[in-house]
Symmetry: D2
Subunit: 146 residues, 4 copies
Amino acid sequence: MTDTFILRRQVEFNHCDPAGIVFYPRYFEMISAVTERFFADAVGFGWTAMRESGNGTPMGTIEARFHAPSRLEDWLDFVLTVKRIGRSSAVLLITGSCEGEPRFTCEATVIHANVDSGSSSPWPDALRAIMSRYLHPSSQIKKDCR
Amino acid sequence: MTDTFILRRQVEFNHCDPAGIVFYPRYFEMISAVTERFFADAVGFGWTAMRESGNGTPMGTIEARFHAPSRLEDWLDFVLTVKRIGRSSAVLLITGSCEGEPRFTCEATVIHANVDSGSSSPWPDALRAIMSRYLHPSSQIKKDCR
Amino acid sequence: MTDTFILRRQVEFNHCDPAGIVFYPRYFEMISAVTERFFADAVGFGWTAMRESGNGTPMGTIEARFHAPSRLEDWLDFVLTVKRIGRSSAVLLITGSCEGEPRFTCEATVIHANVDSGSSSPWPDALRAIMSRYLHPSSQIKKDCR
Amino acid sequence: MTDTFILRRQVEFNHCDPAGIVFYPRYFEMISAVTERFFADAVGFGWTAMRESGNGTPMGTIEARFHAPSRLEDWLDFVLTVKRIGRSSAVLLITGSCEGEPRFTCEATVIHANVDSGSSSPWPDALRAIMSRYLHPSSQIKKDCR
């Protein structure tokens, strides 16, 4: 039984470009917000907890595939699952869709790293346990879409 | 004899909204950049100097009047002068124009304040002396435009 | 009896600057979103209706006063009321606060204007009637805060 | 003999996050600007030309690897080359570095597509010829960095 983290947002004027569609760097702002809310609300590793632990979750690599444009006032459903958890990294799958139509698929590798030194540090067991609940064993989301 | 601080930037895709014109919050990002470059390049009070002094220049009030829309690939000339220098604040006048046509006029009051406590602190004499060179005695720029 | 339009949002990583507080141009993105949602959800004059009418609501002038910094994960309450409705313009008052503590006060004058020509056009009676419900006769909000 | 398209920009306050480093969605805004300037200044396919042709260059897929954080006032050198030109798509390689130190490597696939229908359309010969000058036969940039 796997959990799924979902966020729903509406496309606003500030997200759209002169072609009237979402400007792709704005998707990355949304993806950042989804990841941030996942760590804060689902994993219990928000900004305060990060500062206390001295660790953060910087982005290591990120790739996105854009399937169809999104337009002003579209409601976007962001779904986040975990594809893989390494010793000190995790691969997150984030998809964005509108009324079931895929808009983008994104695979993001975050690193659990010390804020000052930048060096990676192993996930604490408590965090790993919670993140594991969002693990999709055969994460086919991305493959299916490509 | 008064100095004038000038910055020139081109309107990019990421600045424009679905109506094809500059989205006004992007003007404030540009205004922030002009102010930042003024303090760093003209006044010699950049990020490093601010951190060493423990003081920054947060925005107290800002008002802008938009005269005409700017479009993709327009070259904008930003002109910054100082309208008034207080004990621990300064009123900056920033105008944006394209080939001489005014696009916006902005009056911004920055506070010289301690970063941690947030309380205002008097401008050091050295900074005040440099900023005074950009003082326009009868700053009519804004009034003229309104 | 006057209506009030309220929106509630949480401060995210992408809103904050190196000092750890909301970067003021991001406030203008939020103010833009509040205004956009007000016209769409309260007035019934969203993007589709605007396009059909050929008119939009570009910003004429905007001024903001920043009272106290906002930090990551703060919940901000945005309250919008109408201070004055002109023939083809309207002055909106937008305040942002966190748990009752004022963070900013903003007065924005939007113009009801033709998208192509840019020339102002009178508010239709139906829009004016709805906007009037949000009119605060003696809009003292701003004055009190200053 | 291969051409290389270079753009140089300084990291500003508005690019940085509470950790004091460039917030990765801002890199994508910069990447968008580099791509935009490449098509406008190098290829001669700017906004006006795109509108006349009815075609644009939306992003199909993009992936980025972040090597080291960038900080306020860093000067970033963006280098763009072309890895592959398809019938109606092109793979661009964009790297960002500071004084020779790699900060990110990005591979972006843009589609030459009709703005209205969204369907891909073959590159005109003239555009293909110019883009070919930026083609790096054995584009090892990315591989080297990974």
